[in-house]
């Protein structure tokens, strides 16, 4: 019942386009929101505790609309347990353990296979925000032949050496709280903070350039639950200095060295969650691919020192970030070298 209610809610809230629900190889559900156009397909994947609306919040804050207007066939993924799939039935212990590995091994390949089948394209472009960059790293580690043409990665940290309080205590706190529940009630907490501005440095952590009422809307519509499994996997980064698989045996950063997909990596100068130096780890690990690194900050000619959520949603993102994404996706191989 909850499942159907979730789907109805998703359809009602859908700004435009259609939504497809898929079942992954391990039985979980993901959702693909489609903004159709005649051009080549591009898949957009959100970050932790987020959903597809981070790409499509409202007019002027919608990378999806910008890409669609440019003729790209846009697909926005809701990973399991996020956005439109929140109400999907799944056993308690299974939900509790959902990790970035699950998103990369099952959710993303299912979404890519579906889009390619639906569009009859042979490959697609990929845009990932924050954990969305880790998800594609996991997917490529398990399926190196994944048919990706070009990638843009926003604010994905990959180097966790010199752990700081944000990367240790924040995740440790999340993990501790997570023992009391399968998921952290982050959407409810976010709504309360969005309305009443609790005296916590949450805004400073998330953005520097997101004015009201988009701020409140973001807290209302984007924040999704945090799963203990993903927190546990991310928390291990501070212990191992790198993003590891769930069993702490595989360093995913090493897998990036064989990735050949031309990739632009964008970091925000004001990002407290994925600081420039940690995101630079993603860029520098890509040995084999044509690549490009951008720091979005005042010192590099941008209007603001972009924070973590400013890259997809900030007040200046439409003017400054979306063109960078589109430019890279439409660049040919020679230009990007």
């Amino acid at each position: 019942m909850m499942h159907w209610f979730g789907i109805l809610l998703a359809l009602a809230a859908e700004p435009k386009g259609e939504v497809h629900f898929l079942t992954t190889e391990d039985g979980a559900q993901v959702a693909l929101h489609h903004r159709p156009a005649d051009g080549p397909p591009v898949l957009l994947v959100h970050g932790i505790s987020s959903n597809y609306r981070c790409w499509d919040l409202e007019e002027g804050r919608s990378l999806a609309s910008t890409l669609q207007r440019a003729g790209r066939d846009v697909w926005l993924l809701d990973l399991r347990g996020h956005g439109a799939t929140k109400g999907a039935k799944s056993p308690y212990w299974s939900r509790r353990g959902w990790s970035v590995d699950d998103y990369g091994r099952y959710d993303l390949p299912a979404a890519i296979d579906f889009v390619l089948k639906k569009t009859e394209a042979s490959e697609l472009d990929y845009v990932g925000h924050s954990m969305g960059g880790l998800v594609v790293t996991v997917a490529l580690a398990h399926r190196p032949e994944l048919p990706l043409d070009r990638m843009v990665i926003l604010a994905t940290p990959m180097d966790f050496t010199d752990p700081d309080l944000v990367s240790t205590w924040g995740l440790a706190l999340g993990r501790t709280l997570g023992f009391f529940s399968s998921v952290l009630p982050s959407p409810l907490a976010a709504r309360i903070h969005g309305r009443f501005r609790l005296p916590l440095p949450v805004d400073e952590m998330l953005f520097t350039d997101l004015s009201s009422p988009a701020r409140e809307r973001m807290y209302d519509e984007i924040v999704s639950p945090l799963f203990l499994g993903e927190l546990r996997q991310l928390w291990a980064t501070s212990e191992h200095a790198y993003f590891m698989d769930e069993d702490h045996e595989q360093r995913y950063i090493e897998e990036l060295s064989s990735v050949r997909v031309p990739t632009r990596v964008i970091a925000g100068r004001g990002d407290r969650i994925a600081p420039v130096d940690r995101v630079y780890g993603f860029y520098s690990a890509l040995h084999s691919a044509p690549k490009d690194f951008v720091v979005a900050g005042k010192a590099t000619g941008f209007s603001a020192d972009y924070g973590h959520l400013d890259l997809p949603l900030g007040d200046h993102a439409e003017a400054e970030i979306y063109p960078l994404v589109l430019e890279w996706l439409t660049m040919d191989e020679e230009e990007s070298k």
Binding site: E204, R269, G270, P275, Y280
Partner: protein
């Protein structure tokens, strides 16, 4: 607060401004009280920045049990080579004396490159490697032999009183940002960096020093709720706390 402290000490006649001259290019000035038995800490700011900006650190060090000294460069220090030589002269002033260094900005990089014999170094906002993308650093096209201050747009540096500096030294700053990477110094080093500091953000501090044998790194944003620009680092209480904690650590 720091200026008030200094004024009070001067007026009450309790501040000794003893000075040791190593060469015509280097003077070290005993800031605040003179303490014979305390560990000496040389406090340095970069050419192009008003040397009084470190008063607050000097006060914190003196109150924290150290004997703070301020580095002062002669007016003839107009090239990077001469600056390196002047810095190396610290050895002559304090031969056979244990001392540490606390430095803000570019001069910290000069201390690393000169590999002076300090026991410990605290480098705050000191770039150790190049910027990872193109930035707005640069000299005005009509720059003469002396330029107005650091080669960055002033609005990016926060509250930072600047003074003139020789163009040749400003060009060295440009070179630090463009290409060169610092070598591992002999001293034990604490590196403090802020993501909002355009001169020395963590990618120009943490990453080039990852393989150093004896270094600690503190990201200002990882400890407190706010970021600090290059100028703000001089007033950030987190910086003072971390500096004192590091200098007080027992010897290895």
């Amino acid at each position: 607060m720091s200026t008030l402290f200094a004024s009070y000490l001067l007026l009450s006649g309790t501040m000794f401004l003893s000075e040791a001259v190593a060469s015509e290019d280097l003077h070290v000035v005993d800031a605040g009280h003179s303490f014979e038995r305390r560990h000496r800490v040389l406090v340095a700011s970069s050419p192009g920045v008003n040397p009084m900006v470190t008063l607050r650190w000097e006060e914190a060090l003196e109150n924290g049990g150290f004997d703070a000294w301020r580095l002062s460069l002669g007016s003839n220090v107009d090239t990077p080579e001469r600056l390196f030589r002047a810095i190396s002269d610290v050895e002559k002033v304090w031969a056979n004396t244990e001392y540490s260094i606390v430095a803000h900005g570019y001069i910290g990089r000069f201390f690393v490159d000169a590999n002076v014999g300090a026991q410990r170094m605290v480098l705050v906002g000191a770039p150790l490697g190049p910027q990872v993308t193109d930035t707005r650093i640069g000299l005005p096209p009509n720059a003469g032999v002396v330029v107005d201050g650091l080669p960055w747009p002033a609005e990016l540096l926060g509250r930072l009183p600047q003074v003139e500096l020789p163009r040749a030294i400003a060009e060295m700053y440009l070179q630090f940002s463009a290409s060169s990477v610092a070598d591992d110094p002999d001293a034990e080093v604490l590196l403090i960096s802020s993501g909002a500091d355009v001169v020395a953000p963590p990618e120009c501090v943490r990453l080039p020093s990852l393989d150093w044998t004896d270094r600690s790194f503190v990201r200002v944003e990882g400890v407190g709720p706010h970021s600090s620009t290059h100028g703000d680092l001089l007033r950030n209480p987190i910086v003072e706390r971390q500096m004192l904690r590091f200098l007080r650590k027992p010897k290895k």
